[in-house]
């Protein structure tokens, strides 16, 4: 279980991106974070694995206090937290294989990994990860020759290499078209069903309804909603997205 307690983030320029946010994520959940652009979704996800240092508050993972971990402990904690990004964040000039293997760096022998030497076992693991996301044939292509959807699958394969206990996904489909969005989210859903907790930020409400087991709504850094997707009625919607907002759908069914 992941427990977020009174999380506050103030950027050096004074922007308060998160204010006193608290919630819990029981194991096995598919938690979706929603909110307008600038509401603090990315900041929240990055405070969990401390890519961004929270200013105040605590993040507990079971009994471990992530916010109090030493730099070395933090590396070990991150090893088990997969992360998927809106812009995929692959090393564009490296092969797909190298990108997938890099998800394993936390486990690897530090010296051999610096020489890009990997045991056969890890290469097999990487191939299996690529098979899971349906692109084993791309293993030795350069990452930037792949389409956006394929690149995001590589991003998921990279996260899979970590044998993650949970996955943070920051708008994983915001750069993709609606059809691809579903195929990517279905991979995450599949992983979730296999027991990996997913914390995912999304923009489109129809995707939220389809995939979320629970939803946290942010507005200007404040948690303004927590509940199931079906509980988001018109009033709640306007509260999260503002008076002028219209519901936009990813797919026009």
């Amino acid at each position: 279980m992941l427990k977020i307690e009174n999380l506050t983030k103030v950027y050096p320029n004074g922007t308060v991106a998160l204010k006193n946010v608290s919630f819990e994520v029981p194991d096995g959940e598919f938690l979706v974070v929603i909110g307008l652009s600038g509401s603090g979704k990315s900041t929240l996800l990055r405070c969990i694995n401390r890519l961004i240092e929270p200013t105040e508050g605590k993040v507990y993972w079971d009994k471990t206090d992530i916010t109090a971990a030493s730099p070395t402990e933090l590396l070990h904690i991150r090893q088990h937290i997969g992360m998927v990004f809106q812009q995929f964040n692959l090393v564009r000039r490296s092969s797909v294989m190298t990108n997938v293997l890099s998800g394993r760096l936390g486990y690897a022998n530090p010296w051999l990994s610096l020489l890009n030497i990997w045991p056969e076992e890890e290469k097999r693991r990487a191939m299996q990860a690529l098979e899971r996301v349906g692109i084993p044939d791309k293993a030795y292509s350069r990452a930037d020759t792949l389409s956006g959807g394929q690149q995001q699958r590589v991003g998921i394969a990279r996260a899979l290499m970590q044998e993650p206990k949970f996955i943070l996904a920051d708008e994983p489909v915001a750069s993709l078209d609606p059809v691809l969005s579903h195929s990517i989210l279905q991979y995450l859903e599949q992983l979730n069903k296999e027991g990996i907790t997913v914390i995912c930020s999304l923009h489109f409400l129809d995707l939220v309804h389809r995939y979320a087991t629970r939803v946290v709504g942010l507005k200007d850094g404040l948690k303004v909603f927590e509940g199931t997707a079906t509980e988001i009625d018109r009033a709640k919607f306007k509260e999260i997205y503002g008076e002028e907002a219209q519901e936009v759908r990813a797919t026009t069914v």
Binding site: L51, R78, S102, L105, R158
Partner: protein
């Protein structure tokens, strides 16, 4: 903002305009600009330009040959000579003569601008000097010869007019200058390569320390960042010529001080280029690698290096190219290589050989330029 002209602004603009005009007037004066002289002295320039344009690349193999023309004295005492129509030859104005007759002897296609001795080779093997002459630029001479009674034919064998001369025998081969220029260019080329390599080995790791996105974290990192940046900037503020002169005095002149000067300058310049390349990378992949629990070194190797390698390589080749040019200039202050050869030849007024060196530099610089643009094309 209010952009309406006010009297104050107009005055300011006029003063600014006058200052610019004054600055140009001063620049003109201190530079001694004299276009009339440039045109008037064109003949002076023409000679050196022509010499540079006719470099000394090739030479013919030379050998000493003896040209002989039988000359019967008196007429009818022996068969007359048959004169070839081309090549090195001696041509008398008459084909035979009675004793004590003066005639004109011409020589063609001898070694140019050289002293020649025309002799009588007598049938009994004795030798007598007939006349001395000097050939012109085309290897031609004309002189007056007398048919000496002592050179009369014996038993139907005429004495021969003979001359020894150098002549080229067909085969073109590289000239001495070409050999020397090649050797000097070799030195320059590899001096530039070695200094670029050394500089890369030192500048590449240092450049990561001088990149804000890698190092500038925490007080220790920030200190390292500013120190390494200052080192690069300090080194950069010294000109290669100054460096070469310092090392030249220190180590006495030669290729090694030239190499050291180039290396120091290259470290500074590549270090700056490299660290800017590192700062310009996409930070997304670094974030992703950090998120997997990769340590700092792993992030550098997996996230940064693949992104900067093409830039690094193109900077290295670009700098190798620059270093060939700089080392040419460094040669003038004693740094060895092609520049030293060139400065020597210019001081000795051997402009054809200087021309050879200049052409060699042009060719190598052009080739390096081509190479670096080809490599850069392939790296994107």
């Amino acid at each position: 903002m209010d952009n309406r002209p006010t009297p104050g602004k107009i005055t300011l603009n006029i003063i600014l305009g006058l200052l610019i005009v004054a600055a140009f007037a001063i620049s003109w004066r201190v530079t001694d600009v004299d276009f009339v002289k440039l045109a008037k002295n064109l003949p002076n320039g023409k000679d050196i330009i022509l010499a540079f344009l006719t470099p000394d690349f090739f030479t013919h193999d030379k050998t000493t040959i003896t040209i002989e023309t039988p000359f019967p004295i008196p007429c009818g005492s022996a068969p007359e000579a048959e004169i070839p129509l081309s090549g090195p030859r001696l041509v008398p104005s008459i084909m035979c003569a009675d004793p004590k007759v003066k005639f004109i002897l011409e020589g063609f296609n001898m070694a140019p601008n050289s002293d020649v001795v025309v002799r009588w080779n007598m049938p009994d093997g004795r030798v007598l000097t007939a006349v001395q002459a000097t050939t012109d630029a085309k290897g031609h001479f004309t002189s007056e010869v007398e048919s000496r009674p002592i050179a009369a034919a014996v038993n139907g064998v005429a004495a021969k007019l003979a001359v020894e001369t150098l002549t080229s025998i067909g085969n073109l081969k590289p000239s001495q200058a070409a050999h020397d220029v090649l050797a000097a260019m070799f030195v320059t080329f590899f001096m530039a390569l070695l200094s670029t390599t050394f500089a890369t080995i030192i500048a590449a790791p240092l450049s990561f320390l001088a990149a804000s996105n890698v190092t500038k974290r925490g007080p220790v990192g920030t200190t390292i960042y500013y120190i390494s940046r200052s080192v690069f900037n300090l080194l950069r503020s010294y000109d290669p010529l100054v460096m070469a002169t310092i090392f030249g005095f220190w180590l006495s002149f030669g290729s090694f001080p030239g190499f050291l000067a180039l290396t120091v300058v290259t470290i500074a310049s590549l270090g700056k280029l490299f660290s800017e390349a590192v700062e310009g990378i996409d930070s997304g992949p670094l974030e992703a690698l950090q998120a997997t629990g990769a340590n700092r070194f792993q992030v550098v190797v997996y996230g940064i290096i693949p992104q900067v390698v093409p830039n690094f390589i193109s900077f290295i080749i670009y700098h190798w190219d620059i270093n060939i040019r700089i080392s040419t200039i460094i040669g003038f202050v004693g740094g060895g290589g092609i520049g030293y050869y060139l400065s020597q030849k210019i001081n000795l007024l051997n402009y054809h050989q200087a021309g050879t060196a200049i052409w060699a530099i042009v060719i190598v610089v052009w080739a390096m330029d081509f190479l670096s643009s080809e490599v850069r094309k392939r790296l994107t």
